[in-house]
């Protein structure tokens, strides 16, 4: 019976960890923009994701991790792809995103609906993590 309470506590822990990841990303992006290091203000948010990229840990209706350009210089498609590649090169971050239920990495500009998306499970060397 006690393990069920641990499971419930685990679930709440995951929810708070997801918010922590986004909060820290947004904080770092804000400081980089304010200090002049970044020409574009980026913001992370959760979206529906792509059902084709789902894996064992995917959260229902919140599997997308979107990095969106909020203001400043607009980002051409090459820059969007480059940002995605930089995130995917960070293996601890990708493992954390997968473990917390995200399955799709999306990078969007602030104009219109143009963006790129990557399946997290295919771009990480996670050696047998997922069956």
């Amino acid at each position: 019976m006690w393990y069920r309470f641990i499971d419930i506590a685990d679930w709440f822990g995951e929810v708070s960890e997801r918010y922590k990841v986004m909060r820290e990303f947004n904080k770092a992006a804000k400081y980089a923009f304010i200090s002049g290091q970044a020409l574009t203000l980026l913001q992370a948010k959760t979206t529906l994701g792509d059902s084709n990229y789902k894996h064992s840990f995917s959260k229902w209706l919140s599997g997308g991790f979107r990095i969106k350009a909020l203001s400043g210089k607009s980002l051409p498609k090459n820059d969007l792809i480059e940002i995605g590649r930089i995130v995917l090169d960070n293996e601890p971050l990708v493992r954390k995103l997968i473990a917390l239920g995200w399955d799709t990495l999306e990078v969007h500009d602030d104009k219109g609906f143009q963006g790129v998306k990557f399946p997290l499970k295919e771009h990480a060397n996670i050696g047998g993590f997922l069956n």
Partner: protein, 129 residues
């Protein structure tokens, strides 16, 4: 004198059947979510459970990530141009530049590593940035 009828002493219980139905539905949905989670965990390699826990709670340095996003491209462009082996006549310098160039290509999106390689290029090849 008209006698008023006596009030009936029977008590009536009003069962809110809709509330009971809602509670049953809620319990059913919660049970299905719980079962779905258990099935998903069964798909995970059991040897990786500890790695899963560590991955969930690991600290990620977002400042480094922002540095990589904002600065790595310019650093890579400068380093790849200045450390290209074809720029050097001396064979010894060419070998060092080749080694450095491969490292730069390998870490093209890592700002911290590119900064180290910049220092190494200044020291080994006397390149001024």
């Amino acid at each position: 004198m008209v006698q008023e009828p006596e009030a009936a002493l029977e008590t009536t219980t009003n069962f809110n059947w809709w509330l009971i139905l809602a509670i049953i539905q809620f319990i059913t949905i919660a049970f299905l979510f719980y079962r779905n989670r258990k099935l998903k965990l069964a798909l995970v390699n059991p040897d990786k459970f500890d790695e899963l826990k560590v991955a969930k709670t690991s600290d990620i340095n977002m400042t480094d990530l922002m540095d990589n996003i904002n600065n790595s491209r310019d650093d890579y462009k400068i380093l790849s141009r200045k450390c290209h082996p074809d720029r050097f006549q001396n064979e010894e310098d060419k070998i060092k530049a080749d080694d450095l160039f491969q490292e730069v290509s390998l870490h093209k999106r890592n700002h911290a590593k590119l900064a180290e390689l910049k220092i190494r290029a200044e020291r080994e090849l006397n390149i001024k940035f």
